[in-house]
Amino acid sequence: MDAWQLAGYAAWAISALLLGWMVLDAIRVNREYSEDLLLSSREGYDELLEHERTGDRR
Amino acid sequence: MARRYEPPRQSGIGQFIDSIFIVALVYAAMFLPLIFGLTGGGTVTNVPETVTWESLGQNPTMAAQWEKLGYTPESAAEIISTRFDYTIDPVWFIITALVIGGYFVFVVRYSDKEYREVISERFE
């Protein structure tokens, strides 16, 4: 019974660690890169068409 | 449409409020039926007076499987005797059909109106 409780605390701790890392990383990215670059993706048609035209699949 | 439509810039606060609004709407849709007690399937339960595997309509093979799962006739009686109620209320049936049908007609029609604008701007 105690083992499960302990494992439960460990689960909370690991979750907090992972979630914390993601939030910090997201904040770091927001600082280091310009918003225009982050929002620069477009629906992937252009690349696809290039491949189709040249017959290059990779 | 000769002129391109230039949308207004949305403030950070506005973006935040819009995000919150959608989430709030989802919660409302989930909890409203719960608050008004409208959830769950419509079921009826008729437990026979004397509860044995036979009176519950279970043959020996079925009874054996129930027992392997740890049930007795008493503990299984309610599960076995619960049935869905499939009587159809015509008024609600028609209302539901109209709501779903109307929703799709509205969405497709209104989308088409917006779509014409998109196409004329894209292919001008």
Binding site: G8, W21, L38 | I22, T82, Y103, E114, V118
Partner: protein
């Protein structure tokens, strides 16, 4: 050709990574669905009896075969991360697209919450203590999978391939373990199968949960922007996924209906685990418990992937705040969308309302399937064959579209039988959201930019 002005003056443009192959597509589609074979499909037994469930399994299998055919054609042509959302945007129009995007986000986020609940509940069953707290396990499941998704799609779906295959194998092992070649030894179909308890109306009612045999296979489309060659990989991954699921659904039904009385099966929370218990084999018991957890994890993983892609695409078009349309410069994932959906999924899971959450997920899926035939018919009308290059052309048009539409209508009726109130509550949600979008949100959207395919002008416009 309108090239987008934002790119001018920028050193480069970042997109999602194109790294996935057909196996990843298969893992994404089957991974999301397979949990339905371990639990949930059996509620159809409750609504229509064991034979009713089998008929529903086949009829709904036909529904999904139509879905897979239609999706393969449209997505191999509209290869964008939003999947059906991007299809709707190009073929029907903005309001429909907004609704489809919401169906996707809702169906997947709700399913993700349900999957996490299942992991917690199964651990609680294993622990066997009354004070067991499932919350840390629900959060841990979502946190680990979100982390995986955040760090890159290739690893995410490679992991999904492995756990999905393992879960599928556990179903096959159970099937073999019941000695299907030796009826009467373990399997007792002769004694356990009854007549239809509700008659034929029960068979129709069973369509409702029959959807759970396959719900989510259409999620393969969400990978379109990250697949190396969408024209080949998407139809291949989707169709092979569909075949896998038809096999899985059949052996699942056969094993479970030969082991459990239908009244029990119709309300069980872990039917495959219970089936293993009844065989009396400890090996099968452990194996199926692990299989159930793996299938739930694989499903949640795929759901995070898909819900985030849909939300991301809507952000890119400003259907929801633009902020969400960002790509991580290093991992090339829609990181803000992944992050924002974490607390939402966790809060849904913490409500503990498994059946509400599931019903919402099923109905959102069903609305999405109703959209598909309309989409397909308009697609062929606006761009007839040979007017644009299609990656795949499905045969017998418009029969699959019409069959799909008819089956959707029958399934609404099935949901109405017994769950009419939830159906109306959910319609109220989508109607409210539509009005909000049409009369408020759409003013922030750039009109012409929504159409990104390099196709000719649609016919009739």
């Amino acid at each position: 050709m309108t090239d987008h002005a934002i790119a001018a003056g920028q050193p480069q443009r970042i997109n999602l990574l194109k790294v996935l192959g057909p196996a990843h597509v298969w893992a994404l589609g089957v991974g999301i669905v397979l949990v339905g074979e371990f639990m949930g499909w059996n509620f159809s037994v409750g609504k229509g009896g064991a034979l009713g469930s089998l008929i529903a399994c086949w009829v709904i299998g036909l529904l999904y075969t139509c879905v897979a055919m239609i999706d393969s054609e449209v997505t191999s042509t509209v290869a964008a991360a939003g999947g059906q959302y991007a299809q709707a945007k190009h073929i029907i129009g903005p309001l429909m697209a907004f609704n489809v995007g919401l169906y996707l986000v809702m169906a997947y986020t709700m399913l993700e919450a349900a999957d996490a609940l299942v992991v917690g509940d199964l651990l609680a069953a294993v622990a066997g203590t009354e004070t067991f707290n499932t919350q840390p396990w629900v959060v841990l499941t979502i946190a680990v999978l979100a982390f995986l998704n955040y760090r890159g799609v290739f690893m995410t779906l490679t992991v999904n391939f492995i756990i999905t295959a393992a879960a599928f194998i556990s179903l096959v092992v159970l099937f073999v373990g019941t000695q299907p070649w030796n009826p009467g030894a373990v399997l007792q179909h002769r004694e356990l199968l009854t007549d239809l308890p509700y008659g034929w109306i029960g068979v129709i009612a069973a369509f409702h949960f029959g959807i759970w045999y396959y719900l989510g296979i259409e999620g393969t489309c969400q990978a379109a922007e990250e697949v190396r060659s969408p024209g080949r990989s998407l139809p291949l991954g989707t169709m092979s996924g569909m075949i896998t699921l038809l096999i899985a659904a059949s052996i699942t039904w056969y094993a479970a209906s030969g082991l459990l009385p239908w009244e029990y099966l119709g309300q069980a929370f872990t039917p495959m685990y219970d089936s293993a218990v009844v065989t009396g084999s400890d090996f099968l018991k452990v194996f199926l418990a692990i299989g159930t957890v793996l299938s739930a994890v694989a499903s949640a993983n795929g759901c995070i992937n898909d819900a985030a892609r849909a939300w991301f695409s809507m952000g890119r078009d400003r259907y929801v705040p633009l902020w969400f349309g960002a790509v991580h410069p290093r991992y090339r994932t829609p990181f803000r969308s992944i992050l924002i959906l974490i607390p939402i999924a966790i809060s849904f899971a913490f409500t503990g309302l498994l059946d509400q959450v599931i019903t919402f997920s099923i109905l959102s899926g069903l609305l999405g399937y109703t959209f598909m035939p309309i989409n397909m018919i308009l697609f062929r009308r606006k761009w007839p064959l040979n007017s644009i290059r299609r990656g795949y052309v499905h045969p017998f048009h418009p029969i699959p579209a019409l069959v799909l539409l008819a089956l959707c209508i029958a399934t609404y009726f099935a949901v109405f039988l017994g769950y009419g109130n939830q159906l109306l509550a959910m319609m109220a949600f989508y109607i409210g959201a539509s009005l909000w979008f049409a009369f408020h949100r759409y003013k922030y959207v750039r009109r012409g930019d929504q159409f990104t395919m390099s196709w000719p002008k649609p016919q009739g416009y």
